[in-house]
């Protein structure tokens, strides 16, 4: 369009002066004002495009430098023998998991018989603590008075009544003492009143998450005992509590007797790995030393250079000489990997000799675990122990091969450095042993939160869009549409703030409600969970999905609707059989873009998701939503400020950013493809 427009600028005009359109004067190197204006705009446009290209370049540069560095780190990990040590560590870890589950089961069984008493005792402790909190101010003042009284008493003792000059002091102190004693009496009464008022409040009876309420018939006695112990004069146990304690103790002793076999099995389990554990800690320290040596040697060149540079910069000759001497001292040499690996090769037969009996004995011991237990906790933990046993057996079998075939010279492939990032199951940083950068925990966290948010947001947003666009009267439309668009403007940090201070607690309280217990994951022990973050993000995504869906519905040709109505379809039949199916591509695109918005959201998840770096435990099914997690965006925001520029950790975070970038591009791109593909209808 613009090319064909007759600007009349660049063409030479031989008849200047005689024409109506006179050319303006300014010209430079054959270019007129219009050309410069054009270049100005063009230059700015290319600047914008260059900046946007730079984004990709910079991200890619910082991110892909991660892999060579990561590769070197993995190589060090292998050559220092840490990998070897971790094989044995895995076996011990697998055993520990098994043992601790069985142990929990054991204690659940032992405590079963005295459960009722224990519940009452636990409630007793909780209520006492609550009361103390509720009356802490008066308590503090009371105790201060008591301390002051003691001080006065001490002072009195120091003074000698026989001495003449002490008499006035003694008299003053006596007076003070009497005053304090009176105050204390007064405070006692006050405290007693406060305690008896506080015990009637609901806060006093909050037992904390996960503890069972004591049986109702014990409540009057419990209350009496608490009141008795909370009063300031008493420093002893109420007889009821003492009795309960004795009963609980006796019952436990009987139960221990009953489960003596179980206990013996557990003990045998623990004993059987002891030699392996000591071997592990022995070689672990060797590997640690190796790593320290490697780090020292790898930084030697830099340190030497720094000393020399420092020497060049300083003016003091003594200082210069000292620095040069320091530089001389730094040894640059290649590490002797063979010598480092030597001890590990020696350990291989020893390990084989140790692990074989452990394997067979554990099989026997595992069979000895009781299969019939009464409490639910014990049952679940034994079930878990079964899973852990299988895992243990698998680990031992795998690691037998790994250890036999271990070689410090085996090269680390490039694929390994990529795949251990993309599919790594751990993200461990700032550890003294070995940092691991695995994407899976944070990726699953982000994905889980996004899925929950979408599952909640899509029905609401789409039905709101259908209602507003197709069914609502015009006046209602004019109110609802801007109102929902308005939600989009809520800053994410405000929503996150709301989640952490208000919504989290509300959600936790709601999850304790009796008749909601069918919801998976309820009751929730924590405030900051996947569910909390998911619901808030759903709220954030609703306006995006709503607006785009509404647009898509708006773009449906009027003729389609009119035809359908003319055929005798009702309004809703038209909506659901004609309008929505036609707009489905737009709706899919809207959902995709909503997903893009959710997965890139930072502040809400940083504040609300709980920030625990671990792959969520899926054994509970959908109940996984009650766990805390960490996300890709959250981890960048949380850790980037604390790492050195250019370090492996820093590059790992850039790599996470790159993954986010890729996800958002793919989502946007596919949304556009979907739109285009279906738009041809």
């Amino acid at each position: 369009m613009s090319q064909t427009a007759p600007t009349g600028d660049n063409k030479p005009n031989p008849e200047a002066g005689s024409v109506v359109f006179k050319r303006k004067g300014f010209q430079f190197m054959g270019l007129g004002t219009q050309d410069f204006i054009r270049f100005f705009f063009g230059g700015n446009a290319s600047l914008a495009i260059i900046i946007l290209i730079l984004i990709c370049v910079f991200l890619a540069k910082e991110a892909f430098m991660f892999f060579p560095q990561h590769h070197a780190g993995l190589k060090d990990y292998r050559q220092s023998g840490q990998e070897f040590v971790d094989y044995i560590g895995d076996e011990i870890g697998a055993h520990t998991n098994l043992y601790s589950s069985a142990n929990i089961a054991y204690f659940a069984e032992v405590n079963r018989t005295s459960r009722e008493e224990d519940d009452i005792l636990r409630a007793h402790r909780a209520v006492l603590a609550n009361l103390e909190n509720l009356t802490s101010k008066t308590w503090g003042r009371f105790e201060r008075e008591v301390d002051a009284l003691e001080d006065v008493g001490d002072d009195l003792e120091d003074l000698d009544p026989a001495k003449e000059e002490d008499q006035p002091k003694i008299a003053a102190l006596q007076e003070e003492k009497e005053r304090l004693e009176k105050e204390i009496v007064k405070f006692r009464v006050e405290l007693k009143e406060e305690v008896s008022a506080a015990i009637n409040t609901n806060e006093a009876w909050e037992l904390g998450v996960g503890s069972d309420a004591p049986p109702p018939e014990s409540l009057p006695k419990l209350r009496e005992a608490v009141l008795f112990e909370a009063s300031p004069e008493v420093d002893e146990e109420h007889p009821y509590i003492a009795e309960l304690k004795a009963v609980s103790k006796a019952k436990k002793a009987a139960a221990v007797e009953e489960f003596a076999d179980f206990k013996a099995t557990l003990k045998a389990m623990q004993d059987v790995v002891r030699p392996l554990k000591s071997l592990h800690s022995e070689i672990r320290s060797i590997a640690s030393e190796n790593k320290a040596v490697l780090v020292k040697l790898s930084t030697a060149a830099d340190r030497k250079e720094a000393w020399i540079k420092g020497a060049a910069a300083t003016k003091d000759p003594d200082e210069k000489a000292r620095m040069l001497a320091e530089a001389e001292k730094v040894v640059i040499e290649a590490p002797d990997y063979d010598a480092m690996a030597e001890p590990f090769y020696e350990v291989i037969p020893e390990h084989a000799a140790l692990i074989a009996p452990i394997d067979t004995e554990m099989a026997v011991l595992f069979q000895q675990l009781p299969d019939k237990v009464e409490t639910r906790s014990a049952h679940e933990n034994l079930k878990r122990a079964k899973v852990y046993y299988d895992r243990f057996v698998k680990t031992v079998a795998e690691n037998r091969e790994n250890i036999k075939g271990w070689s410090h010279e085996k090269p680390v492939s490039a694929v390994e450095s990529v795949s251990s990032f993309l599919f790594g199951r751990d993200w461990i940083t700032n550890s003294s042993w070995h940092d691991v950068y695995g994407l899976l925990p944070i990726f699953t966290g982000s994905l889980l939160i996004s899925i929950i948010a979408l599952v909640v947001a899509v029905p609401f947003a789409v039905s709101a869009a259908i209602y507003v666009n197709q069914l609502a009267p015009l006046r209602e439309q004019n109110f609802v549409k801007p109102a929902i668009e308005f939600i989009e403007a809520i800053p994410s940090v405000v929503l996150g703030f709301f989640g952490i201070l208000v919504f989290g607690e509300t959600l936790r309280v709601v999850s304790q409600v009796e008749w909601l217990q069918w919801v998976p994951g309820f009751p929730m022990a924590e405030r900051l969970t996947i569910l909390n973050a998911g619901l808030l993000l759903a709220f954030m995504a609703i306006p995006t999905i709503f607006t785009l869906t509404e647009d898509a519905l708006n773009n449906i040709p009027q003729a389609l609707t009119e035809n359908s109505l003319a055929m005798g379809a009702s309004k809703l039949q038209t909506v659901f059989r004609v309008v929505v199916p036609t707009a489905v591509s737009g709706i899919i695109a809207a959902v995709l873009l909503g997903f893009g918005r959710i997965i890139g959201e930072t502040m809400v998840v940083l504040l609300v998701a709980g920030n625990k770096i671990k792959i969520p435990d899926f054994t509970e099914g959908i109940g996984v939503i009650a766990q805390p997690t960490h996300t890709m965006t959250g981890i960048i925001a949380q850790e980037l400020a604390e790492v050195d520029a250019g370090s492996l950790h820093w590059r790992a975070l850039f790599m996470v950013g790159m993954v986010l970038f890729a996800i958002s591009l793919i989502v946007n791109f596919s949304a556009q493809r979907v739109l285009k593909r279906f738009q041809k209808i």
């Binding site: 369009m1 427009a5 007759p6 600007t7 009349g8 600028d9 204006i37 054009r38 705009f41 700015n44 446009a45 600047l47 914008a48 495009i49 900046i51 946007l52 984004i55 910079f58 991200l59 910082e62 503090g140 201060r144 029905p459 609401f460 039905s463 709101a464 209602y467 507003v468 109102a483 929902i484 668009e485 403007a489 800053p491 994410s492 940090v493 405000v494 929503l495 703030f497 952490i500 201070l501 709220f539 109505l565 005798g568 009702s570 309004k571 039949q573 873009l593 893009g596 890139g600 930072t602 940083l606 504040l607 965006t633 960048i636 975070l653 950013g657 986010l660 970038f661 591009l665 946007n668």
Partner: protein, 383 residues
């Protein structure tokens, strides 16, 4: 109405105007009610969040006596709040500066039960100023580059595959998460961007010698106001370009053609008969940009923001360069700090809800303005 077609033929005895309630109608009513409830549920949730924040935040900002607004909250910067009790049981609550003064005035007062609550005293002047500065820098840069780019793309550039690709890329970048822009800003503006300096730092990538012993050193601007402003500008650049181009496209071709036909130059026709009509649309875009930028936390977290700063930006420096290269406090980052990085207690609540209330109201005002302007603009402009 429309569904009369499905009605059975009339019988003579019946009232022909009586509405029939068929099962289909009943079903329609039920489904429609469900959809309506979903719509209003969203609005109720939003209203709940607003009202909750207003209920808890408004008492901090407003007061019952003259001048009805807690001026101290708007004119002080965040401080540590001290709570303590003296021996005689009187309870005191004051900012740290007042606390030092009090201690000087009452040297004999024995303090018991002393607690400090970080960032919970004082007001929010520092963060407000910081956010305003960041937003202004960002909007100036983004509007300048965004507007000119949009003019070029819509008025000057030739149509073709290349330009389509550029548009597609810009549209795609609009959806990139803000934290990724933060990473980029950190990489480019904090570590690589050029500065003119006499003594380049060691990390500088490239030093170009200039006159007078100065260098153009590519060493980055460090964590600074200007780095944060530019990062934010890059973040909303795609949005601004798209919005400005949209409003340019809405101007009918006839305006340009008529102007050119009258003998105006290209630039004259753009400046006289296109830009003035596109102006309201661009203003809306820029206000929308302000709304988004002021609320963003992630991109400034490591490029510009700082949790605590004693002095206001103009007290800290005497040169213009120094002014722009200092880090600032910012409202969203301040909210993040008081929400998640300090131990919670009842004394931290006023600061938390007060700042969120003020921040939300500010951002919402801009948002409301942009929505209002857009609706108005659509109503008014009809060619």
């Amino acid at each position: 109405m429309h569904d009369q077609a499905t009605d059975p033929p009339l019988q003579k005895s019946e009232n022909p105007f009586q509405k029939k309630i068929t099962p289909q109608k009943r079903q329609d009513a039920v489904v429609s009610t469900v959809l309506r409830m979903a719509t209003y549920f969203i609005l109720i949730c939003a209203a709940f969040i607003f009202l909750d924040i207003i209920r808890k935040g408004a008492p901090v900002v407003f007061q019952t006596e003259f001048p009805f607004v807690n001026t101290k909250f708007f004119t002080d910067s965040p401080e540590t709040l001290m709570t303590f009790e003296t021996e005689d049981g009187t309870f005191y609550k004051m900012d740290f500066s007042d606390y030092s003064q009090w201690k000087r005035d009452n040297p004999e007062g024995r303090i018991v039960e002393e607690h400090s609550h970080a960032y919970s005293g004082g007001g929010i002047f520092g963060p407000l100023v910081g956010t305003a500065l960041l937003t202004i820098i960002c909007i100036i840069v983004a509007l300048f580059v965004g507007l000119t780019t949009a003019v070029y793309l819509n008025e000057y550039s030739s149509k073709g595959r290349f330009m389509d690709m550029v548009r597609l890329a810009i549209m795609n970048l609009a959806g990139v998460p803000s934290i990724v822009f933060g990473l980029f800003g950190l990489g480019l503006f904090c570590f690589v961007a050029p500065v003119i300096t006499g003594e380049p730092q060691e990390r500088s990538i490239l030093n170009i010698p200039l006159f007078g012993g100065n260098f153009l050193a590519f060493q980055g601007w460090g964590t600074s106001m200007i780095a944060g402003g530019f990062t934010l500008a890059v973040m909303i650049l795609p949005v601004i370009i798209a919005a400005c181009e949209e409003s340019l496209k809405a101007i009918p071709m006839g305006f340009r053609e008529a102007s050119l036909a009258l003998g105006a130059t290209k630039w004259q026709s753009i400046s006289k008969s296109v830009l003035p009509y596109a102006f309201p649309g661009m203003l809306t875009a820029s206000i929308l940009g302000i709304t988004r930028v002021a609320g963003e936390t992630a991109p400034i977290m490591f490029t510009a923001a700082l949790a605590h700063k004693d002095k206001l930006p103009w007290q800290d420096t005497d040169s213009i360069g120094g002014f722009f290269s200092q880090s600032v406090q910012a409202m969203p980052y301040h909210i993040y700090t008081v929400a998640a990085r300090i131990p919670q207690s009842e004394y931290t609540k006023p600061m938390q809800f007060g700042s969120v209330f003020v921040f939300m109201v500010l951002v919402m005002c801009f948002a409301a303005l942009s929505i209002f302007m857009r609706i108005n603009y659509r109503k008014r402009v009809k060619w």
